[in-house]
Amino acid sequence: MHPALQGLITIIIGVGGCVGYFYFSNQLLDKVLFPARGKNAGRNINRAEMIRPWLFLAPALLALGLYLAYPVVETLRLSLTERLPGGGSRFVGLDNYRQMANEPKFWEALKNNMLWLLVVPALSTAFGLLAAQLTDRIRWGNIAKSLIFMPMAISFVGAAVIWKLVYDTRPIDQEQIGVLNALYLWFGGESPQTWLTIPFWNNFFLMAVLVWIQTGFAMVILSAALRGIPEETIEAAILDGANPFQVFFRIKMPQISGTIVVVWTTITIVVLKVFDIVFAMTNGQWETQVLANYMFDKLFRANDWGVGSASAMVIMLLVTPILVWNVYNARKEMR
């Protein structure tokens, strides 16, 4: 069957199935199981009202449970077992973690990930804040914002191609077609550099791609926060003789600190999951490995589910503080 046709049928079955499920299950509840008539009408209505929320929730809960909650538990189990040849598995305790800890590539990935965690959220938030503050003050600010925001729509893979062209290297006797090398030579560099193969620094060239993408996100959120600041506070500061920098750092920054934390943590999570950029640009060569790509490597190249799952659990462990913090805040807000 042609995939497009299959897609169309899936849409019809999916959407029709959903609507049908919700409609008929509600009908069943109201008309057959607990009809709102007869001598038990009152009790029946109450019972139906107790069950109905779960009818509405059931498909979503099923999907969430199967596709997100169950994998967390199953990955934990897999990380503690070893696949035996010919099917089946054996409990091996922490062996997978021990094996992983003995691999230099894992420590390289962890170290690089920490570097990413420091640099990308910090730079994205800083550029985003700068862009938000500056564009809020000028008439063509909205156009500027939309252009800085644009990389958000570009895939990591597309961004990888875009930046590979920036980092391109040609032999010294030819004209450089990568901007970075052209600038480097123009400013007196001796010979063109292959930027992505210089250990340690190449990490930063990869990070630039993510900063470029995430700055727009930070800008949009922070710009809304800046606009939410009550004008009286700024007016009062200006009347008291504060200069623009003082207004920004002493008056505005403290009032949007909550939003800055939100932006920072959101980008942190993106960084922890970053895979496509490294996969497409260096594939972890030249000491640029990161955890998500290390994991993919273990799973699908080395076919080692144990160590792969163990490294996935490391990512989960790094995400957990943010998860707890978000849940804590969400509950506080609801009260």
């Binding site: 929320p53 779960w54 809960l61 990955t75 252009l147 729509a153 077609i177 901007v179 939003t259 978000n326």
Partner: protein, 382 residues
């Protein structure tokens, strides 16, 4: 806010300049790829894209007509012709007949040929080879020229990448595969999430707060954890790798954000409307379909854009759940990664392929930016 209290900041011009610098910096990389996708292979390889709008000096290797076309003029054998196609306004400054001295002669000069005879090349690319003996061999004489060519843009790259059936890297089928993945994966979660969000927003039942907290938690669970368990699960229930699996995976991964966004929006809808409808005897199902769903359109649109961008741009989920060893179901992101590996230097193919895949999300982005921003503001956990 500069004019508050009647003061105009003297920094205004600095602000304009900094914003301009920032915008240019952010546009520059993308512009490079876009411009490159309209240039010819030779142009991309010999000059930076930022010089595309100016005439460029290139070293070209061209070939004169083959000896078959020689004519006899008196006692001279002559091959005559033009190095450039008509309409190509290149100007030659220097030329040579050996790869070791490619600019040995000025345009208009006459250069001796190694095999006997001589050749004259004019600045416009007209050449005249003369010899007292007949020219031999089957291929034409190589002529190296240093030429200034006017800026030139072409759609050939797009024609090759999209429509050439000979082109094994054809993006056309990958484009349709991506579309096939994206549309069901965008539509299905919306409906599932909308019902759940309604229950979480407007129905009272024990455990509701706990469920909302769980969904906030699931928002950040890295999808890396789901790869093996779900691949195993898909293999066990017999769908293996394929569209069905990737649709289900995208639905599952998209749900937390969908439910979260929609619930936050629905909670904000006016209570009166819903209670009036209840008093008038509407069932929850009717309230949902007739009142909540139409009123929630902005939130639905926000999520739809997110999900569309995310599924269109996704590589990991497609790699794991969709693309099997036959490669028939490859998506554009995977195709581009493949090109990066095998054709890393062929920028005309890479740039064009990348732009084909970027164009659709960019269009959606600029058309529906309002909803995207609204969704971002609602979706970042406060």
């Amino acid at each position: 806010m500069d004019n508050i209290a009647g003061k105009k900041s003297g920094l205004t011009w600095a602000v304009h300049l900094s914003v301009l610098a920032l915008v240019l910096l952010w546009l520059f990389p993308t512009a490079g790829l876009l411009v490159s996708s309209f240039r010819t292979t030779d142009q991309i390889a010999t000059s930076g894209w930022w010089k595309a709008a100016f005439p460029s000096e290139q070293n070209l290797i061209l070939r004169a007509a083959s000896p078959d076309s020689q004519v006899q003029e008196g006692n001279l054998y002559v091959i005559e012709g033009d190095l450039f196609a008509p309409g190509q306004d290149a100007v030659i400054s220097a030329f040579g007949v050996s790869s070791r001295a490619i600019d040995a002669f000025q345009a208009g000069d006459t250069a001796p040929l190694k095999k006997g005879g001589e050749v004259q090349v004019t600045a416009q690319g007209h050449y005249r080879m003369t010899n007292s003996e007949p020219f031999s061999g089957s291929r034409g004489q190589r002529i190296f020229v240093t030429a200034t060519t006017p800026p030139e843009f072409t759609l050939d790259n797009y024609r090759n990448v999209l429509f050439d059936p000979q082109n094994s890297e054809g993006m056309a089928s990958a484009f349709f595969n991506t579309l096939t993945v994206t549309i069901p994966a965008t539509i299905i979660p919306i409906l599932v999430a909308a019902f759940a969000a309604y229950a979480l927003a407007w129905m009272d039942f024990p455990g509701r707060a706990l469920l909302i907290a769980a969904i906030v938690g699931l928002l950040v669970v890295p999808l890396q954890l789901a790869l093996i368990p779900l691949l195993k699960f898909h293999n066990e229930i017999g769908i293996g790798k394929g569209y069905l699996g990737v649709w289900m995976a995208h639905t599952g991964f998209g749900l937390p954000l969908a439910i979260y966004l929609l619930r936050n929006y629905m909670v904000g809808l006016p209570r009166d409307i819903i209670e009036n409808a209840r008093v008038d005897g509407a069932s929850d199902f009717q309230i949902f379909v007739k009142i909540i769903l139409p009123l929630s359109f902005p939130a639905l649109a926000s999520f739809a854009i997110f999900q569309f961008l995310w599924t269109w741009n996704d590589l990991l989920v497609a790699l794991v759940f969709l693309i099997d060893s036959t490669g028939d179901t490859t998506v554009m992101t995977k195709q581009i990664v493949e090109l990066l590996g095998t054709r890393g230097g062929n920028w005309e193919i890479l740039a064009t392929s990348a732009f084909v895949s970027i164009a659709v999300p960019l269009g959606v982005f600029f058309a529906m930016q309002k909803y995207l921003v609204r969704g971002l503001l609602a979706g970042s956990v406060k």
